[in-house]
């Protein structure tokens, strides 16, 4: 779908309306035409379907003017009350006349007036396009198919579950933009219209808890073997061309997959990270099946299998305060004591009530005041920053982790500030606040909003693996840590009890003593964030996916690579890592 100020594929009615508008506002015509040439919205959400207040993919077409362009595209998304306005910005650079297709992840809050898109260069606005009114959805089912699936009639659909038939090139290149999606259905896909970032995003979204359903397209199985799905599939087809005319296609199930029966339709599925990939052997878009009771029952069974994305409510674990560095407190203390001592001298100077003495006292007082003012600025800068809670949950079967961050701006000595996160982590103000989110390889967040709260989500490499050879009530723990930073301190968690295992370097082999288990509630307060550790225990016990894994390695990692930057200063936020431990016989 392509949405622009004036559609290029306009019919007669649109043309007539455009002419009428041009007659009414003849003077505005050249401006509108120029804007149409310069900036157009290619796609909002998934075929126009948007779940409000979640990451939404947007594709924008920028046609560079005759002088070229080196600026930014900014989407100003207002909350339903009009303020605050969250701005999402991406840089654009193009030679004269070049046409760029730009991806912009955004969060929309108001369906009636979602916001406006502006192309600016050097602070000067070149073109502005208002986003059209959008139909909000609770959940979106994304379909890659050149035939309708008849999903619209399914009773298992929620009241506001929308079906979006999406062109491959409009799939988002970052997995966070699938946030409002419940299921992705792939019936056929033109691999030439997909890029590697889009493939990786789909894969990472599944890892993060997404659901993928794959089916044959008639007798065409080429997409099963294409680069997008090949590694995700729980089955291997006998060939890229299925048995012609066969109602059910034969597959070879991969180890770790399971056969399921979706209301009479045979399916094979497996877990990929937190998510699940299901393959059905029949083409549910087959006109002979579409709308039949069997087809409906199969869809109902498939849609009843709800996704289980991780829920990270980390706000309650945020440290209440940000400690002022000891050196700053010491400096202030020393200055105060020095001044009190000096003030006694000041008293003697003024006691004589003589002009030179009084002048000396005034000079001394002025000098002390200036020093105090400088010290205040220094101390405030040192104390500025955010408090953050960060957790990295190892995704089973991958060498990646799902990282969730929650942070709160404590104080900013300059008013406006910039927070930066590593490339894979996307930051968003929650609740919406007057900030600018810069999506430029890595996320920057510019704001002056006091008390700003931000959440971040990303999938990052985490090359830590572990196995536990069980023996009696303990066993031998073997950990390979190729992350480059130690895990310190660390614990083994098993069914509501914990055991400290000490720091873990590049590799470790630790004997778990069956007598040293401690109920996790009885664990003494720990550093650096005990509240987050307790939250993690609870997360492991309640999360639908994680509680199926009995033993975990938990520990703190201080990795500069995954830290935040605050006003250019690197803030090493300790991450609590959760590593699933494989049981070894």
């Amino acid at each position: 779908m392509k949405i622009a100020v004036i559609s290029r594929a306009a019919g007669a009615a649109t043309l007539a309306a455009a002419v009428a508008a041009a007659c009414l506002c003849w003077w505005a015509g050249p401006i509108a035409a120029a804007q149409t040439e310069t900036l157009a919205i290619t796609a909002i959400g998934f075929d126009g379907r948007v779940r409000m207040a979640t990451w939404t993919p947007m594709w924008v077409e920028v046609r560079a003017p005759a002088t070229g362009v080196d600026g930014t595209v900014t989407l100003a998304a207002a909350s339903p009350t009009g303020t605050p306005v969250v701005q999402h910005t991406v840089s654009v650079r193009a030679a004269p006349g070049a046409v760029l297709r730009v991806f912009l992840p955004a969060t929309l809050y108001d369906a009636r007036t979602p916001g406006a898109l502006t192309l600016t260069e050097g602070g000067r606005s070149i073109a502005t396009v208002a986003l059209p009114r959008i139909a909000p959805a609770d959940e979106i089912i994304v379909v890659l198919s050149d035939e309708p699936l008849g999903l619209e009639a399914m009773s298992a659909r929620g009241q506001r579950t929308e079906i979006a038939y999406v062109a491959p090139e409009n799939l988002p290149p970052i997995w966070q933009a699938y946030e409002g999606v419940r299921l992705v259905v792939v019936r056929n896909v033109d691999e030439r219209r997909l890029g590697d970032p889009q493939r990786r995003a789909l894969q990472q979204w599944i890892w993060s808890g997404g659901r993928l359903l794959v089916m044959p397209s008639g007798d065409d199985l080429r997409h099963f073997l294409g680069p997008t799905l090949r590694d995700l599939m729980p089955v291997t087809p006998a060939s890229s061309r299925a048995r012609s005319g066969a109602a059910v296609q034969p597959f070879t199930a991969k180890p770790g997959s399971e056969s399921v029966d979706a209301a009479g339709t045979r399916a094979v599925r497996w877990r990929a990270g937190r998510g699940r990939v299901t393959v059905v052997g029949v083409d549910l878009a087959d006109p002979a099946l579409r709308g039949s009771p069997d087809d409906r029952r199969a869809w109902d069974a498939i849609l009843a299998d709800a996704p289980s994305p991780a829920v990270f409510e980390l706000d309650a674990t945020l440290p209440p305060q940000r400690p002022v560095p000891v050196r700053t407190q010491a400096l202030v203390g020393v200055l105060i004591v020095a001044y009190i001592v000096a003030a006694r001298r000041l008293s003697r100077l003024t006691a004589g009530l003589r002009a030179p003495m009084i002048i000396s006292a005034v000079v001394m007082l002025a000098a002390a005041t200036v020093i105090a003012a400088r010290a205040a600025v220094f101390a405030r800068a040192d104390a500025s920053g955010v408090v953050a809670s960060a957790i990295a949950e190892g995704l089973p079967g991958t060498r990646y982790a799902l990282v969730a961050m929650s942070m709160r701006m404590v104080v900013s000595h300059t008013g406006d500030f910039v927070i930066g996160a590593r490339e894979e982590t996307l930051l968003r103000p929650v609740p919406p606040a007057s900030v600018t989110v810069v999506y430029d390889g890595r996320t920057l967040l510019r704001s002056g909003a006091p008390g700003l709260r931000v959440t971040g989500l990303g999938i990052v490499p985490m090359d830590v693996t572990g196995t536990l050879v069980a023996r009696d009530d303990g066993g031998t723990l073997t950990v390979e840590n190729r992350a480059g930073v130690p895990i310190d301190p660390a614990w083994v968690y098993q069914a509501g009890r914990v055991q400290a295992v000490g720091p873990i370097g590049a590799s470790a082999q630790i004997v778990i003593d069956g007598q040293r288990w401690l109920a996790r509630d009885r664990l003494q307060r720990t550093d650096p964030n005990h509240a987050l550790l307790v939250w993690a225990f609870s997360h492991l016990e309640t999360d639908a996916i994680l509680k199926s894994i009995p033993t975990w390695l938990i520990g703190w990692v201080r990795s500069p690579a995954s830290s935040l930057t605050w006003e250019g200063r690197r803030e090493v936020t300790p991450h609590l890592v959760l590593v699933p431990l494989l049981a070894s016989p």
Binding site: P320, V332, L353, R354, A368
Partner: protein, 245 residues
């Protein structure tokens, strides 16, 4: 040569006693210590000492300063805190100075000492305001309010020192006045509760200058002038009574 030779001799004597005597210097040191303690609490709220994170810590610092300056100025003037060399009204009534000269001297010594104490804590105030990123105007308004209130209390304290010879009565009345100013005014119905100095300080910290702030400060100044008139009347009555006797 002292530039203050032209200064009122009563004020000069009082200020010398308050600024240079060992006891006076120790009082200043204690005053700075109290302000410093609250300054350390005024470090950015992340310090979280005493669960004061959410409170306006600059206001806490300024309130401590206000109360300390007001108390000390009045206490010295009323002789609740006695200093070697400082003459109370009973002594001065017997001197050759005129009643007006004595009253104005007490006014000047109160103004001078209040301003001196505020100025002495200026680096601490600037540090506190800077840490809280508050505008320096806040400190200026706070200083004006503090000095004016302290002057009024100083003048009326001097009057109390002359009017009541009993130490207990004098102290009791002085503390009653302090309670009335800092607590009693807060209990008054609106808009009269605006005369409460802590409330005005709070408004000044949050909103800066306001006409109400100006009016209340003027009321304190008028109270100080009224105190001067009371001292003159009292001295006149004392001297008339002494002559009659």
């Amino acid at each position: 040569m002292p530039v203050t030779q032209a200064l009122n001799p009563v004020a000069r004597g009082d200020l010398r006693a308050r600024l240079s005597t060992p006891r006076g210097v120790w009082v200043q040191t204690l005053y700075l210590g109290a302000c410093s303690a609250f300054l350390l609490l005024s470090l950015p709220p992340e310090v979280g000492r005493f669960e004061l994170r959410e409170a306006n810590l600059l206001l806490a610092f300024l309130v401590v300063q206000l109360v300390a300056v007001a108390y000390l100025t009045g206490a010295f003037a009323s002789s609740e805190l006695s200093l070697e060399g400082e003459k109370g009204l009973p002594d001065l009534a017997l001197s050759a100075f005129g009643a007006v000269e004595i009253a104005v001297g007490k006014l000047i010594s109160s103004v001078g000492y209040a301003v001196y104490l505020v100025a002495l804590a200026l680096p601490l105030t600037v540090l506190a305001a800077g840490l809280r990123a508050a505008p320096l105007w806040t400190a200026v308004w706070a200083a004006i309010l503090t000095a004016t209130l302290a002057t009024a209390l100083g003048v009326w304290g001097a009057w109390l020192g002359g009017r009541f010879s009993s130490d207990f009565t004098r102290s009791f009345l002085y503390w009653s006045v302090l309670a009335a100013v800092f607590v009693g005014t807060a209990r008054l119905p609106a808009p009269w509760n605006a005369t409460n100095p802590v409330l005005q300080l709070d408004q000044a910290v949050r909103n800066g200058w306001s006409w109400t702030f100006g009016a209340v400060t003027a009321v304190y100044a008028i109270a100080a002038v009224a105190g001067v008139v009371a001292i003159v009347s009292h001295l006149t009555v004392m001297r008339t009574g002494a002559e009659d006797a």
